[in-house]
């Protein structure tokens, strides 16, 4: 009989896991369940619904740290941070809508467990760089803590990093201390229209290599720019390269002008101001152009300068996509086809990176794997780490690696 357990505290969670160990009862671990489709289908007898572990525990703006229970919605955290002009600087994406879930339901635990980061990744780092400490119930039925709530910390192994991107397969996050930063006073996005992907990479590289403190750089080919809800972008009728700068108004003015001068040689320059800029980068962050299509969706992480080449190669296969992270992140949408999937993987590898199958029918996931296959030695290390946290495999079995 399948049951859903809904613990109300970290201790409840630990006790439940202890019980699951004794019963050898695998569990599917869920926050609000918005990204259930990310990863392989979890085969578990029961569900662990963490939505009861919600709420902000502590927030001290001057300490630049916020502590919240794992299933606290990101939207609730951002709402509170706004009151002190602060933000989660890694720009957590809201990927739920890619799977048909409602927007703004993503939880802190889900974002951390997936190590999901938005466009500002190029400047301020990923979710893993902002996660300072965690409380975790392990697959051994123990409640442990790792890290702390300070930014400088070398006290034992950094288990916090390991929890980021482990998708609930090592432990159940119950509480998280996360770094927060001041929100920018002003934002500008410089747009270049009509570039090829390769030229866009050159422009983004020039911008990111300048002293103008670029906080995001993306490239949308014409058909994708066309789908934007920001009229300046959709109305361009051409590919759009976008470079964002943020900071105190006087600084943004200066850098905006300098950046326009630097990029003038690359094409026609336009500008997005605060509101439009926010809407545009949210689309880039959430892969919104692929939200309504329901197609197979990939996320490639590659050496940034090679992003344009890879995007072109994918284009030759009839796969459409766009670049974020200055070329280092490619969102790409393809047909449900095994051969295409293999080619996506090999292009990612050739560019020194990897490809994750973010959305696909279960059969395609099973055939090629959701996460990029690893060399045997690294896969062995990962499996032994998993065995140390979850010896009998009760946590999200098979979600990252099938059969484990």
């Amino acid at each position: 009989m399948t049951e859903t357990f809904k613990p109300q505290s970290a201790n409840d969670t630990r006790d439940l896991l202890s019980w699951a160990v004794s019963e050898k009862a695998p569990l599917e671990v869920l926050g609000n369940g918005t990204k259930r489709g990310f990863g392989h289908l979890v085969v578990a007898s029961h569900s662990l619904d963490l939505s009861g572990l919600s709420g902000i525990v502590d927030y001290e703006p001057a300490e630049l740290v916020l502590t919240a229970r794992a299933a606290t919605p990101i939207s609730e955290i951002e709402e509170l941070l706004r009151q002190s002009n602060q933000q989660l600087a890694f720009e957590p994406p809201d990927l739920g809508p890619l799977y048909g879930a409602p927007a703004e339901r993503a939880t802190l635990g889900g974002v951390v467990a997936g190590n999901l980061s938005g466009p500002r990744r190029v400047q301020t780092g990923a979710a893993r760089d902002h996660t300072l400490g965690v409380e975790v119930a392990t697959g051994r039925g123990e409640l442990i803590k790792a890290g702390g709530r300070v930014v400088k910390n070398v006290s034992g192994y950094d288990l916090t990093k390991l929890m980021c991107g482990s998708w609930g397969t090592l432990g159940v996050l119950t509480q998280i201390a996360i770094k927060v930063l001041p929100a920018p006073e002003k934002t500008r996005t410089v747009l270049i229209s009509g570039q090829s992907a390769e030229d866009a990479c050159l422009a983004m590289t020039a911008a990111l290599s300048s002293a103008h403190e670029v906080s995001a750089a993306a490239y949308l080919p014409a058909p994708i720019a066309d789908r934007s809800r920001v009229s300046y972008v959709a109305g361009a009728g051409a590919a759009v390269t976008a470079i964002r700068i943020e900071g105190p108004p006087v600084s943004v003015e200066v850098r905006n002008n300098a950046l326009r001068d630097l990029l003038a040689a690359f094409g026609d320059i336009e500008e997005l101001h605060g509101h439009n800029s926010g809407a545009f980068w949210q689309e880039v962050r959430d892969a919104t152009p692929f939200c309504s299509t329901g197609s197979v969706l990939w996320r490639l992480s590659v050496a940034p300068a090679s992003g344009g080449t890879v995007l072109d190669a994918l284009g030759d296969l009839g796969i459409e996509g766009y670049l974020d992270w200055g070329g280092g992140l490619i969102w790409a949408s393809s047909g449900d086809n095994l051969d295409l999937a293999r080619q996506v993987r090999s292009h990612a590898e050739a560019a020194g990176g990897h490809a994750t199958l973010v959305r696909a029918p279960d059969a395609l996931k099973a055939a090629v794997g959701v996460f990029h296959p690893q060399p045997a030695t690294r896969a062995g290390l990962s499996q032994r780490i998993k065995d140390g946290f979850d010896p009998i495999g009760i946590l999200n079995p098979g979600r990252m690696v099938q059969g484990s």
Binding site: S209, P304, T377
Partner: protein, 497 residues
Amino acid sequence: MTITMPKPDQAVLEGRDAFLAALSGCIPADNLIADSVGLKAYECDALSAYRTLPLAVVLPENTDQVADVVRLCHANQVKVVPRGSGTGLSGGALPLEDGVILGLGKFNRILEIDYANRCVTVQPGVTNLAISQAVSAAGFYYAPDPSSQIACSIGGNVAENSGGVHCLKYGVTTNNLLGLEIVLMNGDVVRLGGKHMDSDGYDLLGILTGSEGLLGVITEVTVRILPKPATVGAQLLGFGDLQSAGDCVARIIAAGIIPAGLEMMDKPAVHATEDYCKAGYPLDVEALLICELDGPSAEVDELSDRVEAIARDCGATTIRRATSEDERQRFWLGRKSAFPAVGKISPDYYCIDGTIPRGRLSEVLTRMGELSKQHGLGVVNVFHAGDGNLHPLIMYDAGKPRDLETTEALAADILRLCVEVGGVLSGEHGIGVEKRDLMGVMFTEDDMKQQQRIKCAFDPDGLLNPGKVFPLLHRCAELGHMHVHHGKLPFPDLPRF
């Protein structure tokens, strides 16, 4: 020395000659040190209070040689202690009597500078500063800048997750690292990360960083480089009491300003450094802040005005803005000379490294003053105020009986205080042997056992740098054991659907 190290393996000590002969088959003869004079140079790292002569020192030149050496050690169950430049302050590279020191000093080449991808790939023995120097002409630098950056190796930086004065804005090593090549204790070579920004699976790069040489031998490092800021400005802010200086730090940050560096010195530190290097510091202050801001000059000017207003509001008695690069360097001169300056006024000093929440700064300093009186040893404070990383320097005289023991007891009390107020044992120096026995102050037995299971995944025989970081060594078989409570669901009233 009050720390207990694992008991040497007699069989290894007795089989030394045969083992050395086998070692000489792995590496050129010049790269093997086995005579007592040669070994003496490796008996300690920068935590010189602890010294041991190693079984042997090997200085391999490439990854294959590293793999051969560790494979041989593994086969003979000989322990291995990796070592970079030996500048570590927590005894992470302290030799073991029955262990080989694996020195990576000959891994000193920059392998690739890739400006388009804004990264540099180097061998682990390359110094931290050499990376910045190599890319400086093109307008780039490597951000983490530990004070030993002229000598410390990048491999050591990764092992200790080193920081520096610019961490608040630019992060520590782990935030600036893209890729590693490591050799496991069984000789397997593993590559982690690369030039891309996201991990494909568990974040092994993250777990390796700060692992203090216990998980793998680092043989190649890829780091992110950043474009240099357009301008850099600095301010000197003096206060009549510690509380006001602490408030000023909190208010700068609460105002949305993230300085590139925000350093604090207490009165004894100000006086010691002023006597030592004449940086021009005001002597009538209880606390001195150095606030460094970077960015376009318009931004630096604007934010400097805001900082100045906050400082004035907090009752600053000195507010000085560097008007030239020369003056900015002079502001930093004193801070950077703090350690040698204290060395001048005290026969010996002992540097500790806790991190605390910024808001508890003045409280911690006050209580530290009480502890200092209680133990009868003076403490000078210089620290990274922006990120709460303290570096109290305890002044003692190694020539006096029991002075070192008292110092260690005072250091332990200060670190306990850091943990008590919500901080951690080490911000950037690592646990090593120095703080090993204090791990229990911060972590429960279950926390530490879970950490040690990571060790088991990488090095099940426990041959890589044992005796460091963890106070109690558990066998991996014991750590793998799970106590199962059979029974009913523990909470029948739990909501379910």
